[in-house]
């Protein structure tokens, strides 16, 4: 995320790096505004980090390749 271990604004550095990876051009002013929003979400995400989840706790929705057939093949 950053070359410096004590980056004064690691979220802004992350925003710059992630946006570059996604080919999303951002001005310095946008980086600043986006960082404020991402910091707010980071605080919420941190609460979820404290929730114990086991390996078998699956996501809410699982991709289905096709609906399960109602009848067995003859």
């Amino acid at each position: 995320m950053t070359d410096t271990p004590n980056d004064p604004n690691p979220i802004a550095a992350y925003v710059r790096a992630a946006a570059q990876l996604l080919a999303l051009p951002l001005s310095d002013a946008q980086v600043e505004r986006v960082s404020v929003h991402l910091a707010r979400t980071a605080a919420l995400a941190a609460t979820l980090q404290r929730v114990p989840l086991a390996a078998h706790d699956e996501p809410a929705q699982i991709y289905e390749p096709a609906p399960f057939p109602a009848e067995d093949p003859s």
Binding site: A19, L24, R33, L38, L53, D57, A60
Partner: protein, 466 residues
């Protein structure tokens, strides 16, 4: 006065020959013309189509044919629903160059088949990412109860049009509260059905794993009537989980005898202002509900809903953000970008949490049939407000209007938002969420109907200045 009639009464009057559908339409158009310069609920008018639909109803009656359940009832839809021949805005400017929709959204098709008359499309937050309908492209939707205040969002036009008496019925979408928040702030009834109940095909998505569609009305009977007519499986919509119709209309007057009704405490009390608490107390008193019910992991669910919405919404719009960020709504573009950049682990963790959360919520409904909670922390705030005061703390106005709705929709439970007036009929309304277990819309509607029948929850047409 036709504008004062609810949808069921209009359909009955058209069936009985008291009014022609075209007369009803003329009255509706006149009401929109008189009020929308103040309210700004409509972004598009489909009056030519409406004229064709109304005349077709009158012709059917003249031929002696039986008329369908919503014959001649004017309605309008949030402008993220496809309307054949019109470009679907989804509250944006960047979609205006897209081709017109080739067909109506499924729910619009179903209301059309039921004889309803579509008069236009309604204002909303851009791409449904907001709770205020302060749309910078077309102007803010103003609350008919107080024109200086927000209508709520993101389906603000849908709530305001019903409150202003422009139409008796509208459709909106609810990802995190976008039906329940405008219902609360505009003082009308709204139904957010179970996640996966109604087809979303032909509506512009925001967060596929959370988006719901549903109706607004001024009576519980109209919610039930329109909801029944929109039900039905849709094998072409992978998000439509209902495989059969479960009608509710004949059950809403069954009363509340035997129902175990509780009031949510903890998070739902802490995040509510004084008016919201008074509204819940009024409803609870009328229903003899039990206080002190604890909803599991409400704050965590709100956090997970926030993360999920940001990630899916941001990813959905990333291609447009690369090319057209300057044309996005200034109030939400930075949130979309932040969402697109979120670490994947945040999103996956939120979805894994959701599975465990679902099981806890379902367990709660072993002990309760219906639960009550405030719909919004406060009543409508002034347009442009950046913050509001919540129990001594200033909180950011735009995201905080969804504090009380997000945990419920993250579980996918059906909710009827009912309008209460804790400070009197001339003050601002505020809503109460009537919550049931998944697939039990009938129970929530029965309780809402009792509150309406007792005069506790009412949705009069707003008195707008001339």
């Amino acid at each position: 006065m036709i504008a004062a009639m609810d949808a069921g009464a209009i359909a009955a009057a058209v069936r009985d020959g008291e009014y022609r559908a075209e007369q009803v339409l003329d009255a509706c158009i006149a009401r929109i013309a008189a009020t929308d310069p103040q309210v700004n609920a409509f972004t598009d008018r489909s009056f030519e189509r409406a004229r064709r639909e109304a005349r077709a109803i009158d012709a059917r009656r003249a031929r002696g044919e039986p008329l369908p359940a919503l014959a001649g009832v004017p309605y309008a839809v949030k402008n993220l629903f496809d309307i054949e021949g019109m470009t679907t805005r989804a509250g944006s400017k960047v979609l205006l160059g897209d081709a017109p929709a080739a067909a109506d959204a499924v729910l619009v098709q179903r209301l059309r088949d039921a004889g309803a008359v579509l008069v236009g499309a309604l204002n909303m937050d851009e791409f449904a990412y907001g709770f205020t309908t302060e749309n910078s492209h077309v102007g803010a939707c103003r609350n008919p109860r107080d024109l200086s205040r927000i209508a709520g969002g993101s389906s603000g036009g849908s709530g305001a049009a019903v409150a202003a008496g422009q139409v008796p019925l509208t459709l909106g979408s609810d990802t995190n509260g976008s039906i329940r928040v405008p219902s609360s702030l505009c003082g009308v009834f709204g139904l957010k059905p179970t996640f996966g109940r109604l087809s979303r095909r032909g509506s512009f998505p925001f967060v596929a794993s959370l988006d719901h569609l549903g109706p607004f009305a001024r009576s519980v009977a109209d919610l039930a009537l329109s909801y029944d007519l929109m039900q039905g499986p849709d094998p072409l919509d992978p998000g439509c989980h209902a495989t059969r119709v479960q009608p509710v209309r004949e059950r809403v007057d069954a009363g509340i005898g035997g129902l175990r009704i509780g009031v949510l405490a903890g998070y739902f009390d802490e995040q509510a202002g004084p008016d919201a608490r008074r509204a819940v107390a009024l409803a609870a008193g009328a229903l003899n509900a039990s206080a002190g019910v604890s909803w599991p992991d409400a704050a965590l669910a709100r956090a997970a809903a926030f993360v999920t919405s940001a990630s899916e919404g941001g990813a959905l719009h990333l291609p447009r953000l690369r090319e057209h960020a300057a044309e996005f709504e200034p109030l939400s573009v930075d949130r979309f970008i932040a969402g697109a950049l979120q670490p994947a682990e945040w999103y996956v963790r939120a979805q894994r949490f959701r599975r465990a959360y679902r099981d806890k919520v379902l367990a709660l409904f072993h002990d309760w049939d219906v639960l009550l909670a405030p719909a919004t922390p406060v009543s409508a705030t002034p347009i442009g407000a950046e913050q509001f005061e919540l129990n001594g703390t200033l909180v950011p106005a735009r995201p905080s209007m969804g504090l009380l709705t997000q945990p419920i929709s993250y579980a996918g439970c059906p909710v009827v938002a009912v309008p209460l007036w804790p400070n009197g009929a001339t003050a601002l309304p505020i809503g109460v969420q009537v919550i049931a277990a998944p697939w039990r819309e009938d129970l929530a509607l029965r309780v809402a109907r009792r509150l309406e029948a007792d005069g506790i929850a009412v949705a009069p047409i707003a008195a707008l200045p001339d």
